[in-house]
Symmetry: C2
Subunit: 232 residues, 2 copies
């Protein structure tokens, strides 16, 4: 019998890989996405396509409005940085960081897991590419897990909640290699911070650059659909 | 100069008291309420009245739909228990427990605090009256605080996030005594799980019973507006 697990699914490359990892690991994946006031909805459509293609048992989309607080280029009227060098990306917390976003996403996942009777939550955080995001670090995930065990019925009754972050220590090329070996069609995924309504990538935001480099390092074709105006 | 703080405000007696405590403690309270799919909106109106009466600097209402997951009498089609003895209330996790609700609420508060540049969040949890709720215990609050310090910009930059739970060890009578000394009009608050649209209390759910007993023990008049059908 497969165990139910909640998988946070953004529609990007990383979380698609996590969904495939959960499935291969014998879990029955219940995918969870958010409309949180992000700039475009192409990633929600990508999440729907990924959930279907990879055989999620169920896919829910929660509506929350993080524009209520603002404070990020992804939810506020602040420009997304373009064509930055890796040194610039790695320096400090980027403006694309959304305050407490992973904490909010994990909290919804925790609620759903509790209702499903599941103690397993999967998230695609990564400490290498997103070293500037406080809520992508292993010590954060461990602290969240510890809190989750005190927050819920499972914890009180002696079960252990596990926050699985299988991509934590992988490079983008390693993630793509892993997912490709599991049969993922990355052409379904959208990683760009400023994708067009139909999901075409800008090619120059931090996320696009990291993704493109991953395919290039691995030496496999990049299936990303780019906008005609890329790299201008 | 007053320090900004985020105060979780439900419209009930406890969180109104917490707002007054934060204000008296020299904080500039930014009140945060939720429409989360609860059975009635009387508590949101109560929260608006309380925020105004107690001089919150600002009051935001976040819309989230916890009915997406269900699993509680407060968000699902499950009956709210009535006229239970205190022994029954204290026994285990009640059906009015909403999975991961405080974790979700605190996560939104954390997001707002980060945008405000605040490191202080106030919540009206109480370990005596709600001993059956896992997310009302002191060890949960400490674990949340620890996680919050790893989740955010403040934590990375060396500041400390504090989750203030000033009611944690107080009885209901002590809470009412404290709030009364701070000038709160508890007639503005709604604690009932099944209040009427105009905010009249049923008088027999767990929350109503605990509240009524508090006023009675303290020997002060209970300003609660009850439904004509109470205790039937």
């Amino acid at each position: 019998m497969t165990k139910p697990a909640v998988v946070l699914l953004s529609g990007g490359l990383d979380s698609a890989t996590v969904l495939a990892v959960a499935k291969t690991g014998g879990y029955e994946p219940h995918a969870l996405s958010f409309r949180y006031g992000q700039r475009h909805s192409a990633e929600i459509e990508a999440a729907e396509n990924v959930a279907r293609a990879l055989g999620a048992a169920e896919h829910k989309i929660a509506q929350i409005d993080l524009r209520l607080f603002g404070g990020s280029a992804l939810t506020d009227d602040i420009a997304v940085p373009k064509s930055r060098s890796e040194a610039e990306m790695g320096n400090d917390i980027p403006i694309t960081y959304v305050p407490a976003r992973n904490t909010i996403f994990l909290s919804f996942a925790l609620a759903w897991a509790e209702v499903l009777g599941s103690t397993d939550i999967f998230i695609g955080v990564n400490a290498l590419d997103y070293s500037g995001y406080p809520d992508c670090r292993p010590e954060y995930i461990r602290a969240y897990e510890n809190m989750a065990n005190l927050a819920t019925r499972a914890g009180v009754e002696g079960a252990r909640v596990h926050i699985h972050a299988p991509l934590m220590e992988l490079t983008k090329a390693q993630i793509i290699g892993l997912g490709s070996s599991l049969g993922i069609d990355y052409g379904l995924t959208v990683s760009c911070y400023e994708a067009s309504p139909s999901g075409e990538a800008c090619g120059c935001c931090d996320s696009c650059q990291l993704r493109e480099k991953g395919f290039s390092q691995l030496g496999i074709p990049d299936p990303t659909r780019y906008q005609a105006t890329r790299h201008k």
